[in-house]
Amino acid sequence: MSFPWAKHYKPSHPLMVWLDEKLPLPRFVYNAIGGGYPVPRNLNYFWNFGVLAGFCLVLQILTGVILAMHYAANSGVAFDSVEHIMRDVNWGWLLRYAHANGASAFFVVVYIHIFRGFFYSSYKAPREMIWLLGVVIFLLMMATAFMGYVLPWGQMSFWGAKVITGLFSAIPIVGEPLQQWLLGGFSPDNAALNRFFSLHFLLPFVIAAVIVLHIWALHIPGSSNPTGVEVKQESDTVPFHPYYTAKDGFGLGVFLLGYFAMVFFFPNALGHPDNYIAANPLSTPAHIVPEWYFWPFYAILRAFTADFLFIPAKLMGVLAMFSAILVWFFLPWLDTSPVRSGNYRPLFRKFFYLLVIDVLVLGYCGGSPAETKYVLISQIAATYYFLHFLVILPIVASVEKPQPLPFSITEAVLGTDEAATLSGASTAA
């Protein structure tokens, strides 16, 4: 759907007229990201991150498909083939660093995209489905990133695979057989490496498909905006092209500056030196940590050190870690406040910033060794994390008095809105 004032695609060239009759692909693009998609005129730079995330996926698929031309998914030669890419393949170092840092960039962008959603309550009606699909995309991304990290078959790859698949062994009764089924053996080996490679290649295309659904669902109500007030009239919107293609283009340029600064000057800053040692099943690195984007969830996993009721600590940790993301699925129904934007919710806003700090603390603990003090901090932070979603959000929604909302997006931007004045006059009359 679109707003009634959306511009219509009118091909002028005879070839485009002919194409529009046979396969209206240009019309589809025009209505999706062209002049035919009216977008609120007040979007700030936090609204750039959806397009940036899409760019990251394309970047990862391009570099990834090329890397797959030079990589060998066999536990005997995988480590050497990665070194072959780094040393022998023309520009191989660039492609691999672009792919490895591309994963980190993708997560940076997606985390900002998600927290944009938290602050502006982008998950609220009528946009619940967009949010749910987004959480699905995030889960797929995590699976893809984990399996990709295993492929170089270094020490961290191997022990990461061992520890993460070991999580499944915590499940009662079926756990051990399930872990052996996932690995195709008793510990990570060639069978596991091969299937991880296969799935690491497949899942990005599944992600692309879910993104199509994500954007499809977005185009039904249209984009949200920083006021959280729905679009009322034509003056509230501008066409996506050229206004937001230009703004997204500028944002992309800024993003690329930061990204290539990492690729060219700090390509290993986010990696682990241990992963430049070939996998050794008989020796565990002293300090196993996942990649930084998993740290908050890893901290929650390790926060459980004692059995809870009849549930063993190990299983509790696993359940809590998965619940930390699954709770997002219920967010549209936990935050019952009718006001969307955090800009008009003073109490909510304070708790939002607390959540940001809480997740950063969890991340710091997840990247630290499992010492008593970090575990203790993780326990407090993990408790607060769940309290925020399950207790604080519903309570804040019911006790908070939001600030007055602008009449329309136009009024928020220009200070006055003729339509508001008119409707005000008619109410008075």
């Binding site: 052996q180 089924w181 008793f186 510990s187 099943p281 008989l282 565990t284 002293a286 499992a370």
Partner: protein, 187 residues
């Protein structure tokens, strides 16, 4: 469409099941069972293959291991610790009342009769699968003289029983037998 209507083989409406319904249910059922059956190879191809299973037993000569020494062997691509306990270590393990332990087992439960000095366990921490220290020469053995896992700080005693830290279970004792006085077959 007109032809189909004119050659109507079904019973009049409202008189129960048509012959076409039977064919429909039968066909869909057969297709459904067939579809489900295809899941069997699709799922079981993921399980350990024959060559992986073929490597799941290993024979080790233990004649060179002196009391107080241990070796690391490989069983199912995972480390196995074979340890020749000293009399003192055996005494330490037996001095503990098993019922007070997290995973209650005595040393006798974890060794073969008459071979209580031979402690054979997986070298896989029962927490998240790291390899504990303590089998190699000069490695730290932890405060109970057995094994110490550096990943998350689990401590095992001289019978490789969990005494401290996050691991839920004792180090697993794999199935094994002594094929002669000096050779042990694991798996």
């Amino acid at each position: 469409m007109a032809d189909e209507a004119s050659i109507d083989t079904t019973v009049p409406a409202g008189e129960g099941v048509r012959r076409r319904d039977f064919i429909n249910v039968a066909a869909v059922s057969v297709a459904g069972v067939g579809g489900l059956a295809t899941l069997v190879p699709l799922i079981s191809q993921m399980s350990a293959s024959a060559d992986v299973l073929a490597e799941s037993s290993t024979e080790i000569d233990i004649s060179a291991i002196e009391p107080g020494q241990a070796i690391k062997a490989v069983f199912r691509k995972q480390p196995v610790f074979i340890r020749n306990l000293t009399q003192q270590e055996i005494a330490e393990a037996n001095a503990v009342n098993p019922t007070t332990l997290r995973d209650p087992q005595s040393l006798a439960d974890r060794t073969k009769p008459g071979k209580s000095n031979w402690l054979i366990t997986m070298g896989v921490c029962t927490h998240l699968g790291c390899v504990p220290l303590g089998a190699g020469q000069g490695e730290v053995k932890g405060e109970f003289g057995g094994y110490f896992c550096p990943c998350h700080g689990s401590v095992y005693d001289t019978a490789a029983r969990i005494r401290k830290g996050p691991a839920p279970k004792n180090l697993e004792v794999p199935p094994y037998e002594f094929t002669s006085a000096t050779v042990v077959k694991i798996g």
